[in-house]
Symmetry: C2
Subunit: 244 residues, 2 copies
């Protein structure tokens, strides 16, 4: 996207997609901190889920509301974000309006913007409708990385094979993945935990796993005795690491 | 590990395993920066590979050599680190000596300490021989995350399945993984690139991939036209992201 800088006095504003990590403000990158402290507009999605306002709470200490706008964008809470295009398009319009005024916008997202983040829905809309607006993505510490550290279970060493799965899978498929990979990470495992636990028992892997909830936050919890979780209502921000 | 703080005036020293990210000093976490600026001893592995002194070069600007010791530990360069136990044991002894003097030691590693890092070999030795020494792992931005951002290829969205593979695999196994996963990341692909490229051509996936070398450094390069890489000597710090 060539910018005719000579004829264009006004600086072209930019969207930063900033990963703010799993919860601990110290796990932000230096780059994320610098951008959040300096941009005039900080944009954060919210819904009925805690997950959304959570991103804002992680970076609150870096924001000066007397000179920075915090633009909270509400989305209906759904199992996934497909079918919410009208909401994302409205959100994109709001961001584009600030960009048009020459204001940089930081869109914050927990974890990393390129790993299962809600930003990816907005990214798709921007690419389609506002392809002239530059987007810079700032990677963040993922919940996967932080959870492996919290549980003391390395994700991969030497020739280990790693699989990261969302929660949409069948037992047969999952069984095969457990057979073929050394480390399997199951994201948002709360919805399917009992079914997964039964499978781990069957495969003799139930002692080789850690359930991690709200990693990086003050509510962080690591559970190795998976039997205690069966039948419980589990946290939305949870994952399971299974090591062979 | 209970510490009898009442009877023990001397603070117990600690090992920090600090991920310093893929190369850009701004991609360190705030926590990594704080620890590197304050610990009396910074420990870094080196060999004939660039990869090792590379970690030190990333954090050089945070180190004050007038009050901090930089302990460089040399390991022979091998295809992998198995069989180098005597070197790791000597390194562990050197670290344990500083810990015994009450000095905190930060062991720095590129990327994340829990994802294919050389620290994991040292970790194993510490767990076995110095299990009384506390180890705190500080996660870092991985080359996988940074490369996906550099290439503009999100690792996973919604129900995407992700596989991360080292370079030890057979064509049949790799073909199956490409079939079953939405995103496949091949680490250290330099050694097997031509073979992988032939397979991608066969599967019609050669246009859906990005080769990323030395992500986050000033030598970072992203190549989408994979054909140009065939027959070339490729960088050690390189990976391939393949998206369906």
């Amino acid at each position: 996207m060539p910018l005719n800088v000579k004829n264009e006095k006004k600086r072209v504003a930019k969207i930063y997609a900033v990963g703010v990590g799993p919860g601990d403000p110290e796990l932000l990158t230096r780059k994320a901190e610098r951008i959040i402290r300096t941009v005039p507009v900080i944009c954060t999605p919210t819904g009925t889920a805690d997950a959304s306002s959570y991103a804002l709470s992680i970076v609150e200490e870096f924001i000066d509301r007397s000179r920075q706008e915090v633009l909270v964008q509400v989305f209906p809470m759904r199992k996934d974000q497909e079918g919410l295009d009208e909401f994302w398009e409205k959100a994109a319009d709001e961001v584009a309006e600030r960009i048009g005024q020459g204001l940089d916008v930081a869109f914050i997202t927990i974890g990393d913007p390129f790993l299962y983040s809600t930003f990816l829905y907005l990214y798709r809309i921007f690419r389609k409708r506002y392809s002239h607006i530059p987007i810079e993505v700032v990677p963040g510490i993922t919940s996967v990385g932080a959870a492996s550290v919290a549980a003391g279970l390395p994700l991969g060493m030497a020739s280990d094979r790693i699989a990261i799965l969302p929660t949409t899978y069948e037992d047969a498929e999952l069984r095969k993945t457990f057979r073929e990979f050394d480390t399997v990470v199951l994201m948002k495992v709360n919805r399917v935990f009992d079914r997964v636990y039964a499978l781990l028992r069957e495969l003799g892997l139930d002692k080789n796993a850690a359930f991690v909830r709200r990693v990086g936050s003050s509510d962080e919890e690591v559970v190795f005795d998976l039997a205690t979780l069966v039948g419980q209502k589990l946290d939305y921000l949870s994952l399971l690491i299974v090591k062979k």
